[in-house]
Symmetry: C2
Subunit: 255 residues, 2 copies
DNA sequence: CTAACATTTTTCCAACTGGTCAAAAATCTT
DNA sequence: AAGATTTTTGACCAGTTGGAAAAATGTTAG
Protein backbone atom coordinates (compact mmCIF):
# COMPACT_ATOMS: atom_id res chain seq x y z
CA UNK A 1 0.00 0.00 0.00
CA UNK A 2 1.35 3.34 1.07
CA UNK A 3 5.10 3.39 0.61
CA UNK A 4 6.72 3.23 4.00
CA UNK A 5 9.08 6.12 4.40
CA UNK A 6 10.26 4.74 7.72
CA UNK A 7 12.37 1.88 6.54
CA UNK A 8 12.85 -1.22 8.62
CA UNK A 9 16.36 -2.00 9.73
CA UNK A 10 17.57 -5.20 8.18
CA UNK A 11 18.14 -7.38 11.20
CA UNK A 12 15.06 -8.81 12.86
CA UNK A 13 17.37 -10.56 15.26
CA UNK A 14 17.89 -8.44 18.31
CA UNK A 15 18.44 -10.89 21.05
CA UNK A 16 21.76 -11.78 19.58
CA UNK A 17 23.69 -14.60 21.07
CA UNK A 18 26.43 -12.46 22.43
CA UNK A 19 29.94 -13.84 22.26
CA UNK A 20 30.43 -13.93 26.01
CA UNK A 21 32.11 -10.68 27.07
CA UNK A 22 31.66 -11.90 30.60
CA UNK A 23 32.48 -15.58 30.07
CA UNK A 24 28.99 -17.00 30.40
CA UNK A 25 29.25 -18.78 33.71
CA UNK A 26 27.69 -22.06 32.77
CA UNK A 27 29.11 -24.46 35.31
CA UNK A 28 27.03 -27.46 34.41
CA UNK A 29 26.88 -30.13 36.97
CA UNK A 30 28.70 -32.14 34.33
CA UNK A 31 31.35 -29.45 34.17
CA UNK A 32 31.74 -29.43 37.88
CA UNK A 33 32.11 -33.19 37.93
CA UNK A 34 34.59 -33.13 35.09
CA UNK A 35 36.62 -30.47 36.84
CA UNK A 36 36.66 -32.48 40.02
CA UNK A 37 37.59 -35.79 38.43
CA UNK A 38 39.98 -34.60 35.77
CA UNK A 39 41.97 -31.69 37.20
CA UNK A 40 44.27 -32.88 39.95
CA UNK A 41 47.03 -30.52 38.84
CA UNK A 42 47.09 -27.75 41.40
CA UNK A 43 48.44 -24.69 39.69
CA UNK A 44 47.37 -25.95 36.28
CA UNK A 45 45.19 -24.40 33.62
CA UNK A 46 42.39 -22.49 35.38
CA UNK A 47 39.36 -24.67 34.58
CA UNK A 48 39.28 -24.44 30.81
CA UNK A 49 35.78 -22.99 30.14
CA UNK A 50 34.64 -25.55 27.60
CA UNK A 51 33.14 -23.74 24.58
CA UNK A 52 29.35 -23.69 24.27
CA UNK A 53 27.82 -26.48 22.25
CA UNK A 54 25.48 -25.83 19.37
CA UNK A 55 22.47 -26.82 21.41
CA UNK A 56 23.53 -24.60 24.24
CA UNK A 57 23.72 -21.57 22.03
CA UNK A 58 20.42 -22.33 20.34
CA UNK A 59 18.54 -22.98 23.53
CA UNK A 60 19.97 -19.94 25.23
CA UNK A 61 18.77 -17.81 22.36
CA UNK A 62 15.32 -19.33 22.54
CA UNK A 63 15.20 -18.70 26.25
CA UNK A 64 16.35 -15.12 25.92
CA UNK A 65 13.75 -14.48 23.27
CA UNK A 66 11.04 -15.93 25.48
CA UNK A 67 12.31 -14.01 28.47
CA UNK A 68 12.21 -10.79 26.50
CA UNK A 69 8.61 -11.48 25.66
CA UNK A 70 7.64 -12.16 29.23
CA UNK A 71 9.80 -9.68 31.12
CA UNK A 72 8.85 -6.81 28.85
CA UNK A 73 5.19 -7.49 29.45
CA UNK A 74 5.18 -8.19 33.17
CA UNK A 75 8.40 -6.83 34.61
CA UNK A 76 11.01 -8.88 36.40
CA UNK A 77 9.13 -9.73 39.55
CA UNK A 78 5.89 -10.08 37.68
CA UNK A 79 7.31 -12.82 35.49
CA UNK A 80 7.76 -16.42 36.51
CA UNK A 81 10.28 -18.96 35.29
CA UNK A 82 7.38 -21.22 34.43
CA UNK A 83 5.94 -18.58 32.13
CA UNK A 84 9.23 -18.08 30.37
CA UNK A 85 9.76 -21.81 30.10
CA UNK A 86 6.35 -22.26 28.57
CA UNK A 87 6.90 -19.54 25.98
CA UNK A 88 10.29 -21.07 25.26
CA UNK A 89 8.65 -24.46 24.88
CA UNK A 90 10.56 -26.31 27.54
CA UNK A 91 10.22 -27.42 31.13
CA UNK A 92 11.26 -25.25 34.04
CA UNK A 93 14.10 -27.49 35.19
CA UNK A 94 15.33 -27.65 31.66
CA UNK A 95 15.38 -23.91 31.40
CA UNK A 96 17.17 -23.73 34.71
CA UNK A 97 19.77 -26.04 33.27
CA UNK A 98 20.80 -23.27 30.89
CA UNK A 99 20.34 -20.31 33.19
CA UNK A 100 20.72 -21.45 36.78
CA UNK A 101 19.08 -18.28 38.10
CA UNK A 102 16.17 -16.16 37.00
CA UNK A 103 18.31 -13.10 37.60
CA UNK A 104 20.91 -14.44 35.24
CA UNK A 105 18.48 -14.34 32.33
CA UNK A 106 17.52 -10.82 33.15
CA UNK A 107 21.09 -9.71 33.51
CA UNK A 108 22.01 -11.09 30.10
CA UNK A 109 19.00 -9.47 28.53
CA UNK A 110 19.85 -6.13 30.06
CA UNK A 111 23.47 -6.04 29.07
CA UNK A 112 22.65 -6.98 25.50
CA UNK A 113 19.88 -4.43 25.49
CA UNK A 114 22.05 -1.55 26.54
CA UNK A 115 24.39 -2.09 23.62
CA UNK A 116 21.50 -2.16 21.17
CA UNK A 117 20.08 0.87 22.81
CA UNK A 118 23.12 3.08 22.60
CA UNK A 119 23.95 2.21 19.01
CA UNK A 120 21.74 4.81 17.29
CA UNK A 121 23.22 7.68 19.25
CA UNK A 122 26.73 6.49 18.52
CA UNK A 123 26.01 6.84 14.85
CA UNK A 124 25.46 10.57 15.11
CA UNK A 125 28.51 11.94 13.30
CA UNK A 126 30.14 15.20 14.23
CA UNK A 127 31.20 15.80 10.66
CA UNK A 128 27.76 15.43 9.14
CA UNK A 129 25.19 18.12 8.57
CA UNK A 130 23.53 18.90 11.91
CA UNK A 131 19.96 18.72 10.74
CA UNK A 132 20.54 15.60 8.70
CA UNK A 133 22.24 13.95 11.63
CA UNK A 134 19.59 14.88 14.15
CA UNK A 135 16.79 13.95 11.81
CA UNK A 136 18.40 10.58 11.13
CA UNK A 137 18.86 9.97 14.80
CA UNK A 138 15.21 10.66 15.48
CA UNK A 139 14.21 8.32 12.68
CA UNK A 140 16.43 5.56 13.92
CA UNK A 141 15.02 5.85 17.40
CA UNK A 142 11.51 5.88 16.07
CA UNK A 143 12.21 2.81 14.01
CA UNK A 144 13.47 1.06 17.09
CA UNK A 145 10.30 1.96 18.93
CA UNK A 146 8.33 0.53 16.05
CA UNK A 147 10.34 -2.58 15.40
CA UNK A 148 11.54 -3.47 18.87
CA UNK A 149 8.86 -2.34 21.25
CA UNK A 150 9.57 -5.17 23.67
CA UNK A 151 13.12 -4.04 24.12
CA UNK A 152 11.91 -0.54 24.70
CA UNK A 153 9.49 -1.70 27.35
CA UNK A 154 12.06 -3.86 29.02
CA UNK A 155 14.26 -0.83 29.26
CA UNK A 156 11.45 1.35 30.54
CA UNK A 157 10.61 -1.23 33.15
CA UNK A 158 14.14 -1.17 34.42
CA UNK A 159 14.16 2.61 34.54
CA UNK A 160 10.92 2.74 36.47
CA UNK A 161 12.40 0.46 39.07
CA UNK A 162 15.42 2.73 39.46
CA UNK A 163 17.65 0.74 37.11
CA UNK A 164 19.09 -1.47 39.85
CA UNK A 165 20.89 -3.75 37.40
CA UNK A 166 22.41 -1.19 35.10
CA UNK A 167 22.79 1.95 37.13
CA UNK A 168 26.57 1.85 36.90
CA UNK A 169 26.50 1.34 33.16
CA UNK A 170 24.28 4.38 32.95
CA UNK A 171 26.57 6.46 35.07
CA UNK A 172 29.67 5.43 33.18
CA UNK A 173 29.10 4.25 29.62
CA UNK A 174 25.87 6.06 28.89
CA UNK A 175 27.03 9.25 30.52
CA UNK A 176 30.29 9.18 28.58
CA UNK A 177 28.48 8.71 25.30
CA UNK A 178 25.99 11.45 25.98
CA UNK A 179 28.73 13.80 27.15
CA UNK A 180 30.52 13.21 23.89
CA UNK A 181 27.47 13.81 21.77
CA UNK A 182 26.51 16.84 23.81
CA UNK A 183 29.90 18.22 22.88
CA UNK A 184 29.13 17.63 19.24
CA UNK A 185 25.85 19.45 19.59
CA UNK A 186 27.57 22.34 21.35
CA UNK A 187 30.02 22.63 18.53
CA UNK A 188 27.15 22.90 16.09
CA UNK A 189 25.64 25.57 18.29
CA UNK A 190 28.90 27.48 18.41
CA UNK A 191 28.98 27.40 14.64
CA UNK A 192 25.48 28.80 14.56
CA UNK A 193 24.20 25.78 12.73
CA UNK A 194 21.55 24.96 15.28
CA UNK A 195 20.02 27.19 17.87
CA UNK A 196 21.77 27.48 21.19
CA UNK A 197 20.01 25.35 23.77
CA UNK A 198 20.65 22.65 26.34
CA UNK A 199 22.17 19.67 24.49
CA UNK A 200 21.41 17.19 27.27
CA UNK A 201 17.76 18.01 27.43
CA UNK A 202 17.69 17.97 23.65
CA UNK A 203 18.82 14.38 23.74
CA UNK A 204 16.34 13.56 26.50
CA UNK A 205 13.52 14.96 24.43
CA UNK A 206 14.46 12.78 21.49
CA UNK A 207 14.52 9.71 23.69
CA UNK A 208 11.24 10.62 25.29
CA UNK A 209 9.27 11.43 22.17
CA UNK A 210 10.38 8.36 20.27
CA UNK A 211 10.21 5.74 22.99
CA UNK A 212 6.78 7.01 23.89
CA UNK A 213 5.41 5.22 20.85
CA UNK A 214 6.61 1.88 22.16
CA UNK A 215 6.12 2.29 25.88
CA UNK A 216 2.75 4.03 25.78
CA UNK A 217 1.53 2.24 22.71
CA UNK A 218 -1.83 1.35 24.27
CA UNK A 219 -2.49 4.95 25.07
CA UNK A 220 -1.46 6.15 21.64
CA UNK A 221 -3.75 3.64 20.00
CA UNK A 222 -6.61 4.38 22.35
CA UNK A 223 -6.41 8.09 21.65
CA UNK A 224 -5.96 7.81 17.92
CA UNK A 225 -8.83 5.38 17.75
CA UNK A 226 -9.44 2.74 15.16
CA UNK A 227 -9.17 5.20 12.33
CA UNK A 228 -5.68 6.55 12.87
CA UNK A 229 -4.26 4.07 15.37
CA UNK A 230 -3.18 1.72 12.63
CA UNK A 231 0.14 1.32 10.95
CA UNK A 232 0.26 4.87 9.73
CA UNK A 233 0.92 6.29 13.15
CA UNK A 234 4.65 5.96 12.92
CA UNK A 235 4.81 7.86 9.68
CA UNK A 236 2.65 10.57 11.17
CA UNK A 237 4.85 10.66 14.23
CA UNK A 238 7.98 10.92 12.12
CA UNK A 239 6.55 13.81 10.16
CA UNK A 240 5.37 15.60 13.25
CA UNK A 241 8.62 15.17 15.14
CA UNK A 242 10.59 16.46 12.22
CA UNK A 243 8.47 19.57 12.22
CA UNK A 244 8.78 19.95 15.96
CA UNK A 245 12.51 19.61 16.19
CA UNK A 246 13.12 21.76 13.15
CA UNK A 247 10.80 24.67 13.66
CA UNK A 248 8.71 24.18 16.77
CA UNK A 249 5.19 25.52 16.64
CA UNK A 250 5.83 29.05 15.44
CA UNK A 251 4.12 29.57 12.13
CA UNK A 252 6.47 30.43 9.31
CA UNK A 253 5.72 32.05 5.96
CA UNK A 254 5.05 29.53 3.23
CA UNK A 255 8.15 29.10 1.12
CA UNK B 1 19.11 29.99 46.53
CA UNK B 2 18.12 30.22 42.90
CA UNK B 3 14.55 31.45 42.68
CA UNK B 4 12.35 28.61 41.52
CA UNK B 5 10.49 29.62 38.42
CA UNK B 6 8.57 26.37 38.41
CA UNK B 7 6.19 26.90 41.27
CA UNK B 8 4.83 24.02 43.31
CA UNK B 9 1.11 23.44 43.15
CA UNK B 10 -0.49 24.02 46.50
CA UNK B 11 -1.92 20.64 47.30
CA UNK B 12 0.50 17.94 48.39
CA UNK B 13 -2.48 15.68 48.78
CA UNK B 14 -2.95 13.66 45.66
CA UNK B 15 -4.39 10.43 46.85
CA UNK B 16 -7.63 12.11 47.70
CA UNK B 17 -10.25 10.15 49.52
CA UNK B 18 -12.68 10.00 46.69
CA UNK B 19 -16.37 10.24 47.50
CA UNK B 20 -17.28 6.80 46.16
CA UNK B 21 -18.30 7.19 42.50
CA UNK B 22 -18.45 3.45 42.38
CA UNK B 23 -19.97 2.84 45.81
CA UNK B 24 -16.89 1.48 47.56
CA UNK B 25 -17.86 -2.13 47.90
CA UNK B 26 -16.88 -2.65 51.50
CA UNK B 27 -19.02 -5.54 52.58
CA UNK B 28 -17.49 -6.03 56.00
CA UNK B 29 -18.05 -9.35 57.53
CA UNK B 30 -20.01 -7.34 60.06
CA UNK B 31 -22.03 -5.83 57.24
CA UNK B 32 -22.72 -9.18 55.75
CA UNK B 33 -23.85 -10.55 59.07
CA UNK B 34 -26.08 -7.54 59.71
CA UNK B 35 -27.63 -7.90 56.28
CA UNK B 36 -28.32 -11.55 56.85
CA UNK B 37 -29.79 -11.18 60.32
CA UNK B 38 -31.64 -7.91 59.94
CA UNK B 39 -33.05 -7.78 56.42
CA UNK B 40 -35.83 -10.31 56.01
CA UNK B 41 -37.85 -7.92 53.85
CA UNK B 42 -37.52 -9.28 50.36
CA UNK B 43 -38.05 -6.37 47.99
CA UNK B 44 -36.97 -3.86 50.63
CA UNK B 45 -34.30 -1.17 50.57
CA UNK B 46 -31.33 -2.57 48.64
CA UNK B 47 -28.83 -3.05 51.49
CA UNK B 48 -28.31 0.52 52.65
CA UNK B 49 -24.55 1.00 52.14
CA UNK B 50 -23.75 2.29 55.59
CA UNK B 51 -21.67 5.49 55.28
CA UNK B 52 -17.95 5.16 55.93
CA UNK B 53 -16.82 5.89 59.46
CA UNK B 54 -14.08 8.38 60.23
CA UNK B 55 -11.56 5.66 60.88
CA UNK B 56 -12.46 3.91 57.68
CA UNK B 57 -11.80 6.98 55.64
CA UNK B 58 -8.55 7.75 57.41
CA UNK B 59 -7.22 4.24 57.18
CA UNK B 60 -8.17 3.90 53.58
CA UNK B 61 -6.25 7.05 52.80
CA UNK B 62 -3.22 5.79 54.66
CA UNK B 63 -3.40 2.52 52.79
CA UNK B 64 -3.77 4.20 49.43
CA UNK B 65 -0.80 6.40 50.15
CA UNK B 66 1.29 3.40 51.14
CA UNK B 67 0.10 1.46 48.12
CA UNK B 68 1.07 4.32 45.84
CA UNK B 69 4.53 4.24 47.32
CA UNK B 70 4.92 0.52 46.85
CA UNK B 71 3.10 -0.05 43.58
CA UNK B 72 4.87 2.81 41.86
CA UNK B 73 8.23 1.39 42.83
CA UNK B 74 7.67 -2.30 42.16
CA UNK B 75 4.63 -2.61 39.94
CA UNK B 76 1.47 -4.48 40.80
CA UNK B 77 2.74 -8.02 40.79
CA UNK B 78 6.05 -6.95 42.24
CA UNK B 79 4.39 -5.55 45.33
CA UNK B 80 3.10 -7.60 48.23
CA UNK B 81 0.29 -6.84 50.61
CA UNK B 82 2.76 -7.26 53.44
CA UNK B 83 4.95 -4.53 52.03
CA UNK B 84 2.06 -2.14 51.69
CA UNK B 85 0.80 -3.02 55.14
CA UNK B 86 4.21 -2.33 56.62
CA UNK B 87 4.50 1.05 54.94
CA UNK B 88 0.98 1.81 56.10
CA UNK B 89 1.94 0.77 59.61
CA UNK B 90 -0.56 -1.99 60.08
CA UNK B 91 -0.84 -5.75 59.85
CA UNK B 92 -1.71 -7.55 56.67
CA UNK B 93 -5.06 -8.90 57.85
CA UNK B 94 -5.89 -5.46 59.15
CA UNK B 95 -5.21 -3.97 55.78
CA UNK B 96 -7.29 -6.66 54.16
CA UNK B 97 -10.13 -5.59 56.40
CA UNK B 98 -10.29 -2.29 54.54
CA UNK B 99 -9.50 -3.56 51.07
CA UNK B 100 -10.52 -7.18 50.81
CA UNK B 101 -8.46 -7.66 47.66
CA UNK B 102 -5.08 -6.46 46.52
CA UNK B 103 -6.62 -5.66 43.19
CA UNK B 104 -9.14 -3.43 44.87
CA UNK B 105 -6.42 -1.14 46.15
CA UNK B 106 -4.89 -0.91 42.75
CA UNK B 107 -8.18 -0.24 41.07
CA UNK B 108 -8.95 2.64 43.41
CA UNK B 109 -5.52 4.09 42.92
CA UNK B 110 -5.85 3.92 39.17
CA UNK B 111 -9.24 5.53 38.91
CA UNK B 112 -8.20 8.40 41.17
CA UNK B 113 -5.00 8.74 39.22
CA UNK B 114 -6.67 9.13 35.89
CA UNK B 115 -8.67 12.09 37.11
CA UNK B 116 -5.56 13.80 38.45
CA UNK B 117 -3.82 12.99 35.26
CA UNK B 118 -6.30 14.50 32.88
CA UNK B 119 -6.79 17.70 34.83
CA UNK B 120 -3.90 19.72 33.34
CA UNK B 121 -5.06 19.15 29.78
CA UNK B 122 -8.60 20.09 30.68
CA UNK B 123 -7.33 23.47 31.73
CA UNK B 124 -6.12 24.34 28.26
CA UNK B 125 -8.57 27.06 27.22
CA UNK B 126 -9.65 27.58 23.65
CA UNK B 127 -10.09 31.30 24.22
CA UNK B 128 -6.59 31.91 25.55
CA UNK B 129 -3.49 32.82 23.62
CA UNK B 130 -2.21 29.65 21.94
CA UNK B 131 1.40 30.00 23.01
CA UNK B 132 0.50 30.98 26.53
CA UNK B 133 -1.87 28.05 26.80
CA UNK B 134 0.55 25.52 25.41
CA UNK B 135 3.40 26.84 27.47
CA UNK B 136 1.28 26.69 30.61
CA UNK B 137 0.22 23.18 29.83
CA UNK B 138 3.81 22.07 29.44
CA UNK B 139 4.70 23.71 32.73
CA UNK B 140 1.84 22.09 34.55
CA UNK B 141 2.79 18.69 33.24
CA UNK B 142 6.40 19.25 34.16
CA UNK B 143 5.41 20.30 37.63
CA UNK B 144 3.43 17.13 38.00
CA UNK B 145 6.44 15.11 36.95
CA UNK B 146 8.48 16.93 39.55
CA UNK B 147 5.99 16.90 42.39
CA UNK B 148 4.17 13.64 41.83
CA UNK B 149 6.70 11.28 40.32
CA UNK B 150 5.13 8.28 42.00
CA UNK B 151 1.83 8.88 40.29
CA UNK B 152 3.63 9.26 37.02
CA UNK B 153 5.42 5.97 37.49
CA UNK B 154 2.28 4.20 38.54
CA UNK B 155 0.69 5.40 35.36
CA UNK B 156 3.67 4.38 33.26
CA UNK B 157 3.64 0.96 34.84
CA UNK B 158 0.05 0.47 33.86
CA UNK B 159 0.75 1.61 30.31
CA UNK B 160 3.66 -0.76 29.95
CA UNK B 161 1.43 -3.62 30.96
CA UNK B 162 -1.09 -2.67 28.31
CA UNK B 163 -3.35 -0.72 30.69
CA UNK B 164 -5.53 -3.72 31.56
CA UNK B 165 -7.39 -1.85 34.30
CA UNK B 166 -8.07 1.42 32.52
CA UNK B 167 -8.13 0.64 28.84
CA UNK B 168 -11.79 1.54 28.51
CA UNK B 169 -11.32 4.83 30.32
CA UNK B 170 -8.53 5.59 27.87
CA UNK B 171 -10.66 4.73 24.89
CA UNK B 172 -13.60 6.75 26.09
CA UNK B 173 -12.80 9.57 28.51
CA UNK B 174 -9.22 10.20 27.52
CA UNK B 175 -9.96 9.96 23.83
CA UNK B 176 -12.88 12.35 24.15
CA UNK B 177 -10.78 14.89 25.98
CA UNK B 178 -7.92 14.68 23.54
CA UNK B 179 -10.28 14.87 20.59
CA UNK B 180 -11.71 18.04 22.04
CA UNK B 181 -8.34 19.63 22.64
CA UNK B 182 -7.10 18.54 19.25
CA UNK B 183 -10.00 20.50 17.83
CA UNK B 184 -8.88 23.54 19.78
CA UNK B 185 -5.39 23.17 18.40
CA UNK B 186 -6.73 22.80 14.89
CA UNK B 187 -8.68 26.00 15.27
CA UNK B 188 -5.51 27.79 16.26
CA UNK B 189 -3.84 26.33 13.23
CA UNK B 190 -6.64 27.47 10.97
CA UNK B 191 -6.23 30.96 12.37
CA UNK B 192 -2.55 30.80 11.56
CA UNK B 193 -1.63 31.27 15.20
CA UNK B 194 0.44 28.13 15.41
CA UNK B 195 2.00 26.16 12.63
CA UNK B 196 -0.09 23.50 10.96
CA UNK B 197 0.86 20.08 12.26
CA UNK B 198 -0.63 16.96 13.77
CA UNK B 199 -2.43 17.99 16.97
CA UNK B 200 -2.54 14.48 18.40
CA UNK B 201 1.15 13.89 18.07
CA UNK B 202 1.72 17.34 19.45
CA UNK B 203 -0.09 16.33 22.60
CA UNK B 204 1.79 13.04 22.71
CA UNK B 205 5.08 14.86 22.53
CA UNK B 206 4.14 17.06 25.46
CA UNK B 207 3.20 14.04 27.51
CA UNK B 208 6.35 12.21 26.56
CA UNK B 209 8.83 14.99 27.17
CA UNK B 210 7.42 15.97 30.53
CA UNK B 211 6.72 12.56 32.03
CA UNK B 212 10.17 11.47 31.00
CA UNK B 213 11.56 13.46 33.91
CA UNK B 214 9.58 11.39 36.38
CA UNK B 215 9.65 7.98 34.77
CA UNK B 216 13.26 8.00 33.63
CA UNK B 217 14.54 10.01 36.54
CA UNK B 218 17.43 7.65 37.25
CA UNK B 219 18.64 7.94 33.73
CA UNK B 220 18.33 11.69 33.68
CA UNK B 221 20.30 11.97 36.89
CA UNK B 222 22.91 9.48 35.77
CA UNK B 223 23.52 11.36 32.54
CA UNK B 224 23.52 14.82 34.06
CA UNK B 225 25.87 13.64 36.75
CA UNK B 226 26.30 15.06 40.21
CA UNK B 227 26.89 18.54 38.89
CA UNK B 228 23.68 19.15 36.99
CA UNK B 229 21.49 16.31 38.19
CA UNK B 230 20.34 18.29 41.22
CA UNK B 231 17.25 20.34 41.73
CA UNK B 232 18.00 22.64 38.84
CA UNK B 233 17.19 20.06 36.25
CA UNK B 234 13.51 20.89 36.12
CA UNK B 235 14.16 24.55 35.48
CA UNK B 236 16.57 23.61 32.73
CA UNK B 237 14.05 21.23 31.28
CA UNK B 238 11.34 23.88 31.36
CA UNK B 239 13.55 26.36 29.56
CA UNK B 240 14.62 23.84 26.99
CA UNK B 241 11.12 22.57 26.27
CA UNK B 242 9.85 26.09 25.84
CA UNK B 243 12.52 26.70 23.25
CA UNK B 244 11.79 23.40 21.54
CA UNK B 245 8.08 23.81 21.26
CA UNK B 246 8.32 27.44 20.25
CA UNK B 247 11.06 27.46 17.67
CA UNK B 248 12.58 24.02 17.34
CA UNK B 249 16.26 23.90 16.61
CA UNK B 250 16.50 26.25 13.68
CA UNK B 251 18.71 29.18 14.59
CA UNK B 252 16.98 32.51 14.43
CA UNK B 253 18.47 35.98 14.21
CA UNK B 254 18.98 37.56 17.63
CA UNK B 255 16.16 40.01 18.27
C1' DC C 1 -23.15 0.77 81.81
C1' DT C 2 -23.89 -2.26 78.18
C1' DA C 3 -25.35 -4.18 73.86
C1' DA C 4 -24.21 -3.69 69.18
C1' DC C 5 -21.08 -2.73 66.21
C1' DA C 6 -16.24 -1.65 64.42
C1' DT C 7 -11.47 -2.76 64.49
C1' DT C 8 -7.43 -5.48 65.30
C1' DT C 9 -4.70 -9.52 66.16
C1' DT C 10 -3.63 -14.45 66.01
C1' DT C 11 -3.59 -18.49 63.65
C1' DC C 12 -3.84 -20.95 59.76
C1' DC C 13 -3.77 -22.54 54.83
C1' DA C 14 -3.62 -23.57 49.93
C1' DA C 15 -1.43 -22.01 45.85
C1' DC C 16 2.52 -20.43 43.79
C1' DT C 17 7.47 -19.59 43.31
C1' DG C 18 12.41 -20.24 42.61
C1' DG C 19 15.24 -23.83 42.80
C1' DT C 20 17.39 -28.87 43.67
C1' DC C 21 18.42 -33.59 42.50
C1' DA C 22 18.77 -38.11 40.74
C1' DA C 23 17.69 -40.73 37.16
C1' DA C 24 16.29 -41.36 32.36
C1' DA C 25 16.83 -40.18 27.56
C1' DA C 26 19.25 -38.33 23.83
C1' DT C 27 23.41 -37.14 21.59
C1' DC C 28 28.15 -37.33 20.47
C1' DT C 29 32.77 -39.74 20.04
C1' DT C 30 35.55 -43.29 18.96
C1' DA D 1 28.03 -50.36 19.09
C1' DA D 2 29.91 -48.99 23.47
C1' DG D 3 31.13 -45.58 26.41
C1' DA D 4 31.15 -40.86 27.62
C1' DT D 5 28.85 -36.78 27.76
C1' DT D 6 25.05 -33.63 27.39
C1' DT D 7 20.20 -32.76 27.77
C1' DT D 8 15.64 -33.55 29.57
C1' DT D 9 12.38 -35.00 32.85
C1' DG D 10 9.67 -35.95 37.15
C1' DA D 11 9.46 -35.68 41.91
C1' DC D 12 10.29 -32.87 45.41
C1' DC D 13 11.12 -28.85 48.73
C1' DA D 14 11.30 -24.67 51.45
C1' DG D 15 9.88 -19.97 51.42
C1' DT D 16 6.55 -16.60 50.09
C1' DT D 17 2.07 -14.83 49.03
C1' DG D 18 -2.87 -13.70 48.98
C1' DG D 19 -6.35 -14.50 51.73
C1' DA D 20 -9.93 -16.83 55.26
C1' DA D 21 -11.70 -17.61 60.09
C1' DA D 22 -12.28 -16.66 64.42
C1' DA D 23 -11.26 -14.82 68.59
C1' DA D 24 -10.03 -10.61 71.15
C1' DT D 25 -10.33 -5.84 71.84
C1' DG D 26 -12.13 -1.15 71.14
C1' DT D 27 -15.82 2.29 70.54
C1' DT D 28 -20.12 4.38 70.92
C1' DA D 29 -25.24 5.18 70.95
C1' DG D 30 -28.79 4.69 74.02
Amino acid sequence: MAPRKLKSPASPKVVASEPPPSPARRQHKADAKAAKSAAPAKGAAPAKPRPLTRIQREKQDIILEAALEVFSAHGFRGSTIDQIAEVAGMSKPNLLYYFPKKEEIHRRLMSELLVTWLAPLEEMRADGDPFVEIRSYIRRKLEMARDFPRQSRLFANEMLRGAPHIIDMLEIDLKALVDEKAQVLMTWMDQGKITRTDPYHLIFSIWATTQHYADFDVQVRAVLGKGRGGDGRFEDAARYLEQLFLYGLTPRPRA
